[in-house]
């Protein structure tokens, strides 16, 4: 057989590079920590850039959702507008600066993402703690509910509820929270199951602590890391989901355009103004990749067991 020309499955280095195992040689472990730190710093810098742009951007570059300037519509990136400033990313179908729209969109998307995360996180963590701590019928009911929701495509549920509620920022947050609490509930529950019988919790209980105190002071602080990991990964998903809803016209209203809205508007002008859809999409993708990489790196660092999430 032509063995030398065959590719050989690597035998020893595969595991070490992929998932940390306790028996790793120290050198490999150190390299991995270094790469992990690099990933965290790089992705955090990207995210920080977006946050700064979202906070300061709209102040520097005003965006008025109802303004139209027909003289400067569909201008390519880099055009000097009559008003005196250069449209770095071009202008859209009503003469609006695409960059200004994106900065405003960053504000909307990040705000919706964070608000959703807080709402879904609070509901999910509360449900997870209750289910894990008390067990019994409460656990059965909550986890069955989670199962049912997981067997249902979340985008469909979001589309349906959003179509009834109508487009508004608050409604988008509600809709996305409804479809995202389950992940938090599941992770929290499994953490609580592992924690509730640990010695330090038992010790606190023996000292006479009440249930509320045990849940909020002993158990909750011990599972901040896994919850943060899940939150980071989910934030990317939520921002994508919000963009999808807005693209379908079911997300934020026209007065507060998010990236999805801008991309949708550009669809009708693909032949003569490619930049309207293309550039906001790249901006969106980079942010989501940032959260994805950060989530992966944090998970590898703090809780490799969450890998299956």
């Amino acid at each position: 057989m032509d063995r030398p020309t065959e590719q050989v499955l690597p035998r020893n280095d595969s595991k070490a590079a992929d998932s940390p195992t306790p028996g790793d040689p120290p050198v490999a472990a150190r390299t991995r920590v270094k790469i992990g730190r690099l990933r965290i710093i790089a992705s955090l810098s990207v995210i920080a850039l977006y946050v700064v742009a979202a906070v300061i951007g709209p102040i520097l570059l005003k965006y008025d959702p109802v303004a139209t300037d027909l003289g400067s519509r569909l201008k390519p990136p880099g055009t000097l507008l009559p008003s005196g400033h250069t449209a770095i990313f071009g202008t859209d179908q009503v003469g609006q600066d695409v960059l200004a729209q994106m900065l405003q969109g960053a504000r909307v998307s990040i705000t919706v993402g964070l608000a959703t995360l807080v709402l879904a996180g609070v509901i999910g963590v509360a449900a997870g703690i209750a289910a894990g701590y008390f067990g019994g019928w409460l656990d059965t009911v909550l986890m069955r509910l989670a199962d049912v929701q997981l067997t249902f495509p979340s985008i469909l549920l979001a589309i349906f509820i959003a179509s009834i509620l109508g487009p508004s920022v608050v409604n988008v947050v509600i809709v996305l929270s409804i479809s995202n609490w389950v992940t938090f509930a599941r992770v929290t529950r499994s953490q609580v199951l592992g924690l509730k019988n640990r010695d330090f919790v038992d010790a606190t209980r023996t000292l006479g602590a009440r249930t509320w105190h045990l849940m909020t002071r002993s158990i909750l602080p011990s599972m901040i890391a896994p919850i943060l990991v899940v939150a980071t990964v989910e934030l990317g998903h939520v921002i994508l989901a919000e963009a999808s809803l807005s693209f379908l016209g079911l997300g934020t209203p026209a007065s507060t355009p998010s990236w999805g809205t801008t991309i949708a508007n550009g669809r009708d002008y693909l032949s003569n103004a490619w930049w309207i859809s293309t550039i906001p999409g790249i901006g969106l993708a980079i942010l989501v990749i940032g959260f994805g990489v950060l989530g992966d790196a944090l998970r590898d660092r703090f809780d490799p067991r969450l890998r299956s999430m």
């Binding site: 199962d147 249902f152 495509p153 009834i164 990317g236 994508l240």
Partner: protein, 307 residues
């Protein structure tokens, strides 16, 4: 096995009942009058009163719920006011197109996902593996509607290779198929890669090598089987998600399937069709899950015995 089948079927029915109930509750409990919602803001008081009577909105909620369940069991979702025909019939008429799109996406996803995953595992931590991993990350992070638009921009508008939308021959399936398949490809790459790497150290792989099998045979005859069980499960679950994702891809590519009908009906406030479309997709999703569960129980006895 019978007990397992029974349990899974019962759960599927339970999920469907949940979906029906959620649709009912959302339509009835959300602020605002469903009759008003359906007829729009320019309807007269008379028309609203008549529709309320017709929909039974004046009766107690429990009675409405009972009637609704009865209608759902008989697949009666009322008429579409836009097309003046049976809402469920309308949705069923579009379903084959959505199914076609999902099947093509599934095929693309399985072929590309598994083969790229094998490449990644074979050349772990080398250039090819890195490229495959980055590709997986990108396909997972980029919004599908945007990728669809970019495909249209490049392949339809600039290169004129493929049509940008509508339905017809196979060439019109390529772009929406790939767009819909991308998230699936990403998941399958990761699963196949890690599934293969998990067994590299196992004794049975060493045995296969020791008895002189070529590396290719070791992988495709022995190692891949380990990765296959999670692939079957995930591919099945993802097939259901493809039905949901099709809503967006169909909108981008003007593909006249259920998803497109759903979005059009939402903007036209044709709520009978919206309900029918949502419940049909949910039904397909739940049925596929059931099939996957049964297959999984068949492939892996530990699952059906609940261990």
């Amino acid at each position: 096995m019978t007990a397992y089948l029974f349990r899974r079927t019962l759960f599927a029915v339970f999920v469907l009942w949940g979906a029906v109930t959620v649709v009912f509750l959302v339509l009835r409990l959300v602020p605002g009058d469903p009759a008003q919602l359906i007829l729009g803001s320019d309807a007269t008081q008379d028309e609203i009163a008549r529709l309320r009577e017709q929909m039974g909105l004046n009766r107690p909620l429990v009675v409405q719920y009972g009637i609704y369940l009865g209608d759902v069991v008989r697949f009666d979702f009322g008429d579409s006011y836009r097309y003046h025909s049976d809402a469920m019939g309308l949705v069923m008429g579009r379903f084959p197109l959505t199914l076609q799109l999902a099947v093509v996406a599934m095929a693309i996803g399985l072929v590309l996902g598994i083969s790229l995953g094998v490449v990644g595992a074979l050349r772990v931590n080398r250039l090819a593996d890195r490229v495959v991993s980055v590709f997986a990350l990108l396909s997972q992070s980029m919004p599908s509607f945007w990728i669809g638009i970019m495909f249209i921009l490049v392949f339809a508008r600039q290169l004129h290779w493929l049509a940008s939308g509508g339905h017809g021959g196979f060439d019109r399936l390529v772009l929406p198929g790939i767009t819909l398949a991308l998230p699936l490809i990403a998941i399958l790459i990761r699963l196949t890669r890690s599934g293969l790497l998990d067994v590299v150290h196992e004794n049975y792989i060493q045995t296969a090598r020791a008895k002189g099998l070529s590396e290719r045979l070791v992988i495709f005859l022995h190692a891949i089987r380990n990765a296959l069980i999670p692939i079957v499960t995930v591919a099945g679950l993802e097939f259901g998600k493809l039905l949901g994702g099709a809503v967006i891809v169909e909108t981008v590519f003007s593909w006249p399937g259920v998803g497109r009908l759903l979005i059009d009906s939402i903007s036209a406030r044709d709520y009978n069709v919206v309900q029918a479309a949502i419940l049909l997709i949910a039904c397909g999703f739940v049925l596929i899950n059931l099939v996957v569960d049964v297959l999984y129980g068949y492939l892996d006895p530990r699952i059906r015995l609940g261990r």
